[in-house]
Each structure stands twice: as C-alpha cells, then as structure tokens.
C-alpha cells in the first residue's frame, strides 16, 4: 500500500513540476549561461529562488521535527565532508581529496556538456516533451548512458 502511495506521490510531484517547468522555461545551466553572455538574470532568478524555496522547505521539515532523524539538517554540522551518496564511486570516494575531486570533476563535466547540449537535464526532458527531436535523442542518450557508465566504471575499478 505504502509502495503505491510512494509511486503516486512522486508522480504527482513530477506532474506539478513538469507543468510549472513547461510554463516558465526554467533552466539552471541556461541561467548561468545567459548571465555570463548577456548579464540577463531572467533564468538565473529561477535557480536562486529554487535554492531559497528548498531551504525554506527544509527548515519547515527541521522545525516540525517529524521528518528528519536527529542531526540530518543542517547536514554539514553533523556529518562533515563526504561525497554525495548518489555518486557512482561509492566507497571509493572517501577521504578529502577524492571527495573534492569527485565534486569538481563531475560538476565541471555536467556544466560543460549541458551548455553544449543547450540546457540542463531537466530542461532537456521538458523540451523533449514539447516535441524537440534533439532533446528526445538527448534523453535517450541520457537513459542509455547511465547503465553504460556503471558498466565502464565497474570495469575500471575491478
């Protein structure tokens, strides 16, 4: 039962996000690009208010104390410095230098190739839904690239 509630809740959140993203054309990487090129803050404001909105949400969750186990927010004061748990390198990214390296190399690559593709992954998914064939190809490459990446990294680490 909870499983279906989980699937439904995440689907509804995605639905709301999809509608709002489509109506506004929000793009985070595009915001950095437009600010750098034209000093245009139209999209950049979206990225900044996203951070503010999420921060307000986490503070609400933290103050109500129903959601987080003790000491999970603000995260940095309790857990110290370690790589984002979702990283492919997992336990291989422990220690200060690998942690920083993972964040810097991964972040740089994501920003660089997102600009070449013309938008951040979220924007590409929305543009694919609007009928942009390039974005549909991007989404297919994105979805296929993930298992291939895991296979490559596994082969390299083994």
């Amino acid at each position: 039962m909870q499983v279906y509630a989980f699937a439904l809740a995440t689907f509804v959140v995605g639905l709301i996000g999809g509608i709002l993203f489509q109506r506004s054309g929000l793009c985070t990487v595009g915001g950095y690009r437009d600010f750098w090129l034209f000093r245009d803050t139209h999209l950049l404001r979206g990225a900044i208010t996203f951070i503010i909105g999420a921060f307000i949400g986490y503070v609400i969750l933290w103050l109500t104390k129903t959601i987080f186990a003790t000491g999970t927010f603000p995260w940095v004061f309790y857990k110290g410095l370690s790589a984002i748990p979702g990283t492919i390198l997992g336990a291989n990214a422990e220690g200060l230098v690998p942690t920083l390296l993972v964040a810097i190399v991964g972040g740089f690559g994501v920003g660089f190739f997102s600009i070449l593709a013309g938008g951040c992954p979220m924007r590409q998914f929305v543009m694919a839904s609007e009928g942009n064939k390039s974005s549909i190809a991007y989404v297919l490459g994105f979805a296929l690239g993930i298992p291939i990446t895991y296979a490559i990294i596994h082969a390299l680490l083994a």
Binding site: G46, V76, L81, T87, G106, E130
Partner: protein
Amino acid sequence: MEFFEFTLKRCEIVQSSKIPKLKPWQTGLIVGLLAALIQIVYNLIPQTVEGNPSYKTGPVAYGYCMFCHVRDLVNWSIKGLVPWMTPAPISAVVPALTIIGIIVGAALTAIAAKEFSWRRTINPALAFIYGSLVAFFAAILGACPIRIMLRLSYFDVIGLIGLFSVILGAITATEFVLKRGGGGGGS
C-alpha cells in the same frame, strides 16, 4: 547566435497561447519548496517497505533529481541486467516516478498551450552523445544541476563546491565553445 534566435522564436509562440506564462523565479520558488517537502514520502514510507529493514531515513535532498530518478527507473526497468548499479534502496522496490510525471505534465501542458511542435535544435546524434556524457559526469557527481542546488539548500558543503563546479563548467563552455560558434540548442 543559433540559440538566441531560437529563444526569440519561442517567445512569439508563447504570446499567442492562452494559458498564462510563469516567471522562472515563481516556478523556482514553488518547485524548490515542493522538492524539499516531498522528502516526507522518502523518509516515512521506506521504513515500512518489506525487504529493506536497514533503510531508515531514505535518501536526503532527493525531491527532484534528473540523474538519480532516471537511474532508479532504468535500474528498475532492466532489473538484473546491470547488477552493479546502485540505486536508492527504496527504488529497488518501486522507483520514484518523478521523471514520468515531468514528461507527462510538460507534454500535456505543451499540447494544451499549443506549444507542442516537432522541431530540432542541434544534430540529434550529437545530442545523444551529449546526453551520455552528461549522464557520465552526473554519475560521478551523484547529482544533476537541480539536485546539486537541493544539496546546497540542505547545507551541504560538497553541494556548494559541486554547484560552483557546474557554474565553472557552464562558463567555460560558454566562453570557449558557444562564443566561437559551437554548441547550440535553446532553453
């Protein structure tokens, strides 16, 4: 520039539609708040899912993540094919359907607003390669540009460093590729 013309073209389409247009900052605020608050389902439901006894709090700052949720969905779809994939534990039982929601929501809204049209911005083969490369680096980072902002809101120092790296990468590509006529697409 190619993408600038594309943006202008999009604006003309937008003005002719009846469904009101939102400002990016309004969307950012609403979706950011939603992304944090949806953490409730990640933290409450997994505790009761059978087969995951050690999974207590759920992945943190996980409301929206283009990379993580696609990975979970792909892993769930091709179960067993790539055994070393490491999705969030809840997704072994049921994947987060955020991606499906975004695609359905954006497509329906685009159709309703008469903004849906078959078009292309850059060479699809090139876009496919860019998609794989972004997925590769997002896998190393463990987040997409959206989730890295969520991590920053979560007071994660690595989130801040990752966001600075994303901005640095974007500026580098803008300076050395876009300004010299390469790349393209519009957003």
